[in-house]
């Protein structure tokens, strides 16, 4: 069998020593410099990319088969917090063991889920002195930047790598970066890093047409991949660390019929006792701003609200006739909306049967 570790040492020698010898003799080509930069970026993040041996949980959801092999996670803190994609955690597996690049192994506990961004936070039991990552600042992420996707599923001792560019930002209503690097079960849960090895996001299947855990898996390796940006996710991380699950936040409002990208966010109905109802909005009101950012269409409204979690309070400005009002609205979960909807339906039915 080929000794791959040995091969790598050999390669390094090839790569570096001649370049020392040739300094001043011949410049490296851009391709060679890019190759070197990509490789170093992988090396920088690689120690924080762990293999997760998952036993139990989802092997098959609906009609979609999920891989039963190892998955990838990303170390977020020296004291053992690891983030990964939820695509293998619905339902929760019986056991998760994390294997580090250096061979250390840790049993892992599920701390909390971020259902909106399809991430799960794990804690490695008894881990200390874990390698750290650097997070790419939000304003450094531009469409066209190198996007290097790193996983650790093929083998525990080596990362697996695919390379592309950032294809778009603010996808899936403000919750994901998009990349054309190959993204698949081989790197879901792993980081997408920039050319400096800084983490831009955590790779995860995503789809604009479904919040389901596995939605987006069909796009594996197709040039359409997503990563949840970590810049700005710090407060969510704090909440998850305290064991609080996070869900997408909803307003409890029905909007006027029409194509969302072309239609004004005029309130058609409010869910009784739902968030906007409690804040005093009524049918006919026109929502004009969220957190002081003006909005014109139903799509704008969705972009403004969707990144927030249930329990978040946002400021909603609306117009009723000539008057403009501003209220605070605390978003709720989809389950609570459903409960309220059912209760209202029941009440309505009872009321009409009493007639």
């Amino acid at each position: 069998m080929i000794n791959v570790a040995g091969k790598h040492v050999l390669w390094l020698a090839f790569m570096w020593v001649p370049s020392v010898a040739w300094i001043g003799v011949r410049a490296q080509t851009l391709e060679q410099l890019q190759q070197q930069a990509i490789r170093e970026a992988v090396d920088r993040v690689s120690p924080a990319v762990v293999q997760l041996q998952i036993i139990g949980g989802a092997d098959r959801v609906e009609n979609v088969d999920l891989a039963s092999g190892p998955a990838t996670g990303l170390i977020l803190s020296g004291d053992g917090y690891v983030v990964t994609s939820r695509y293998r955690f619905d339902p929760a597996p019986a056991s998760v063991v994390a294997i580090l690049a250096d061979g250390r192994q840790f049993a892992s506990a599920i701390v909390a889920h971020d259902y909106s961004r399809k991430l799960v936070l794990l804690k490695l039991e008894g881990a200390t002195d874990l390698p750290a990552i650097e997070i790419a600042p939000d304003d450094s992420i531009r469409v066209g930047n190198w996007a290097i996707a790193v996983g650790r599923t093929y083998r525990a001792d080596r990362p697996n790598v695919s390379v592309g560019v950032v294809s778009a930002t603010d996808r899936i209503f403000g919750r994901a970066l998009q990349t054309d690097a190959a993204v698949s079960p081989a790197n879901y849960g792993g980081p997408m890093v920039d050319i400096q090895g800084r983490v831009m996001g955590v790779l995860s299947p995503m789809s604009p047409s479904s919040e389901s855990t596995i939605a987006g898996v069909d796009w594996y390796d197709s040039g359409i991949g997503f990563a949840v940006p970590l810049a700005g996710w710090q407060s969510a991380f704090e909440r998850l660390r305290n064991g609080k699950d996070l869900e997408r936040g909803y307003l409890g409002v029905g909007l006027a019929d029409g194509v969302p990208r072309e239609t004004t966010p005029t309130v058609k109905s409010v869910l009784p006792a739902g968030p906007v109802a409690q804040a005093g909005l009524e049918p006919g009101d026109l929502i004009v701003a969220i957190n002081e950012n003006a909005i014109a269409t139903q799509n704008d409204l969705k972009f403004a609200v969707t990144p927030h979690y249930a329990g978040d309070t946002i400021q909603v400005a609306y117009e009723r006739g000539e008057e403009r009002h501003t209220v605070d609205v605390t978003l709720t979960t989809v389950a609570k909306l459903q409960e309220a909807a059912e209760a209202a339906t029941k009440q309505q039915t009872e009321a009409s049967s009493n007639d």
Partner: protein
């Protein structure tokens, strides 16, 4: 151990780079432009059409020249089910190619072009590469038969994703190869791409594009190449005849030849000209059962005769006396197994 390699390797590297420009046919392409690399690779890439003809669906695949005499390495597949194929070269030549043999360990096949005294450009089978994750790669292959005649084959770019055993990629596949492959992040394993080549940015061979396979568990299509040193190994086994010599049809036949029945073997039905000689069943209380032969064993050689097909096994048995022990080489999983069977002559008991 690692330390030692570090000290030694640079010397090798420098010597290799210094020697490269004077090595004639196999000039190293380090620092060459893409156009040079493209031309180099195109000249060595071929399009292979099965004898069924160009119109037959997917009766095409890719291949690469690996000798000046016109040996083409490719993947074993139904395209090669006939004994000969039509091969299109980048210079618009269309040559007949004979299927020399198939290496059952790697599923690699070699086709020899009818080139008379022609000298072909080729990839050096001895080339050693040291791929690493994120290494930038180019793939040359005739996926979807996009290119015909002298049109250049398609070029795709990507990086090496991982060096990993094919079996580690969850589940089982329609290929028996289970050793390490180079997983890449480009969509290279498409219809018609098998037998194409993956090179580094200097144009040197890294691996051969394998057959289309997908994980039975996740259903995901895989993109991978067989390491070039393994390809070289397989080609060498085929050309050197280390898996046995080809059957000499001029030899005299023994008075009484061994038969399938005398050994207790039944092969899978012989449906195409190059049906691989898999054992279908082993008869009870037969020499084959005694020697613990199993269904799905592949008969690689009988005596010193290489058996690539069902027909080969028949021919080899014809040339094997029934009253002597018969040595058979089998491929079981990815292991070679040698067995000796004493045929049972009918009526002798």
């Amino acid at each position: 151990m690692n330390r030692l390699q570090i000290v030694v390797a640079p010397t090798v590297a420098i010597v290799a780079s210094a020697l490269a420009p004077i090595c004639g046919a196999q000039v190293a392409l380090v620092g060459r432009s893409f156009a040079d690399v493209n031309q180099y690779a195109q000249q060595r890439s071929v399009k292979i059409y099965g004898a069924g003809g160009l119109r037959q669906l997917e009766a095409y695949q890719s291949g690469v020249l690996v000798s000046a005499d016109g040996h083409v390495a490719t993947m074993a597949s139904v395209v090669l089910d006939q004994d000969w194929v039509i091969v299109h070269l980048s210079d618009s030549r269309r040559l007949r190619g004979e299927v020399v043999g198939v290496d059952p360990l790697l599923d690699i096949a070699v086709v020899k072009l009818d080139g008379e005294d022609a000298e072909f450009p080729y990839y050096d089978l001895q080339h050693q590469s040291m791929p690493y994750e994120s290494m930038q790669l180019l793939a040359f292959c005739n996926l979807y038969n996009v290119a015909t005649g002298d049109e250049p084959v398609s070029v795709l770019h990507g990086v090496l994703t991982a060096v990993a055993p094919l079996e580690a990629r969850r589940g089982s596949f329609s290929t028996r190869y289970r050793d390490e492959v180079y997983i890449v992040d480009a969509s290279i394993n498409n219809p018609g791409a098998a037998g194409g080549i993956v090179v580094d940015l200097s144009g040197q061979p890294i691996g051969m594009i394998g057959k289309e396979v997908r994980s039975q568990l996740s259903g995901a299509w895989l993109n991978y190449a067989l390491p070039w040193d393994r390809v070289a190994e397989g080609v060498d086994r085929i050309i050197s005849g280390r898996l046995g010599a080809s059957i000499d049809s001029t030899t005299d036949l023994p008075e009484r030849s061994a038969t399938f029945a005398s050994l207790g073997i039944r092969l899978v039905p012989n449906v195409v000209p190059r049906t691989p000689p898999y054992i279908d069943s082993v008869l009870p209380d037969s020499p084959a059962e005694t020697a613990m032969l199993e269904p799905d064993d592949l008969v690689i050689a009988v005596g010193d005769m290489r058996t690539g097909t069902h027909n080969d096994v028949e021919q080899a048995l014809l040339r094997t006396p029934i009253d002597e022990p018969v040595r058979i080489t089998l491929l079981r999983g990815n292991r070679l197994v040698d067995v000796e069977l004493m045929p049972i002559v009918e009526g002798s008991q």
